[in-house]
Symmetry: C2
Subunit: 359 residues, 2 copies
Amino acid sequence: MLPAVELDLSLSPGDLTARLIDIESVSGSEGPLADAIEDALGECDHLTLTRDGNALVARTDLGRPQRVVLAGHIDTVPIAGNVPSRVDQGVLYGCGAADMKSGVAVQLKLAAEVAAPVVDVTYVWYDCEEIESERNGLLRLSRNDPASLAADFAILLEPTGGVVEGGCQGTLRAEIRADGERAHSARAWMGRNAIHEAAEILAILQKYQAREPEVDGLRFREGLNAVGIRGGVAGNVIPDECVVTVNYRFAPDRSADEAADHVRQVFAARPVTITDAVGGARPGLGSPAAASFVAAMGGTPRAKLGWTDVARFDTLGVPAVNFGPGDPSLAHSRGEHVPLAAVAECESRMRAWLQGSVS
Amino acid sequence: MLPAVELDLSLSPGDLTARLIDIESVSGSEGPLADAIEDALGECDHLTLTRDGNALVARTDLGRPQRVVLAGHIDTVPIAGNVPSRVDQGVLYGCGAADMKSGVAVQLKLAAEVAAPVVDVTYVWYDCEEIESERNGLLRLSRNDPASLAADFAILLEPTGGVVEGGCQGTLRAEIRADGERAHSARAWMGRNAIHEAAEILAILQKYQAREPEVDGLRFREGLNAVGIRGGVAGNVIPDECVVTVNYRFAPDRSADEAADHVRQVFAARPVTITDAVGGARPGLGSPAAASFVAAMGGTPRAKLGWTDVARFDTLGVPAVNFGPGDPSLAHSRGEHVPLAAVAECESRMRAWLQGSVS
């Protein structure tokens, strides 16, 4: 058994982030970090702590009229020569610096030190976000104990560059098939070339005008794109099948079923097979807790275009936004980093909001 | 060691074909059949016999002003429950019935029995025609002893349904690449989709007008077709590459180099990689031996559209045609068959021509 690692939650948000980076927690190996968090928070009498595998839930129970979830995943993509962390000119480098140990550090500071927030808070740290959906710790919690995630509003501390990103778009994949008839390629006119036929599928994609709907005050931007194509039997055969895989990213005013209907209509002349589809999440910025959060964080909220775990809160009926330090485009990169000042800024803004001390 | 098998060349052409089918000779396992042919022809004093691996060359040397090659491969594709042979209502069924043990039987009958043809004849039986080109027995002979294949005219006894098919078309494969820029599919406008871009390659193929040139009096019919397409990185990534593999079947008035230039011109806007190219063969029907052969066989000669080993004779400067019993579209099929009468008809026409007894 490895010696337990210790977390000192009195460190600054930036220093705590560095410490978190140094406790490796690649998806599936979050045990030591989850243990360290459990130990550190065990000393906080104002929190009720429960654990499900390597996911942890810590709650205040102050009888406040509103409850807010602050959630973050503790796993990272595989290490890429970027552990241990290092600081250079005020910038912290290391695996998970942006995605999302800086957000986890903010959660831990707030959980440990804001003993009497103006809203009740449910802090959630979960495992296996960076791998296949079925192993996702937040999904597991939502199945094992959905009541533990009940709230009026949820904030996922994924990196957003310190701007509130509301909701998220859904994503759907489908296979569109072009059919033909095989023939020897020396006598092509005896058959019908399915790959040539697929030109019409690609032409539809080229001409497709994506929607940019406004949902709950935020502008989303859809996209319908080929992400794969395959066809061919042998080097001397006119192929009888060509399959184009498309990915439809759709705004949260459409359900996954409506998105599937739309794709079927776009390719009405072809066999369409929906291979997977998951709905997005509405921004839900109209709720009082969300409105006060957006006001407190400043800036103009924008729509989240990628799919994130906020959609799981949407499924539970909890409006959710993404907000955290770090540049999302650096996620999963070897040179992943976050300015120490951005972590401190995020922490102090959220602390002020939870303490009701926002001007 | 297996007991040697015996071939009785006094059998009728059809019965001899059945006997040849029953001596299995899948590519790479032609030894027993080559041995049997060598033994049977060893008794013919009018022939000079040489062997190279499982290829055999038998020559008359009568000092005739013209020399003709009669060539055929002795291997077959793998057995598919179609050996031993069987006869039903005058039709012979079995592996190689059409492609091309009936042609081999005709060669053997003529070699054994036409001791004084009006032209000198070089009979060639070779191995490994049905597999990768590098193992082809005719290619090996043409490298080891090109003089053994020298002639004024060559006839390849591949199945043509008893019609003279002149020359053959060349074949070239090339990869045409569409490039793009990767991006996350939730923000497709940050990249450029290579699969969508490939629509233009497919549109060129759809609109392509294939040539139908007349070469040495025969009408060829070209074709430019996609035989494969691939593209895609992951289900959430805008792909940066899509590759279309095309197969160009070209008439023998173009060399392989000219064909490559043509394909590069057709896709001038794209990177083109020629992956393999082999020229065809001109029909060469203008030579005296060819003209007399066509006249003797009757019917209207047509162009051979698929690539065949006649191209190897073309490389050696020997005009060549395809002529043999059996329906070429049955080649390689489980139900491969040939009418016994067609084998006899082919044998008697060719015998008459070799004996100079054509009216």
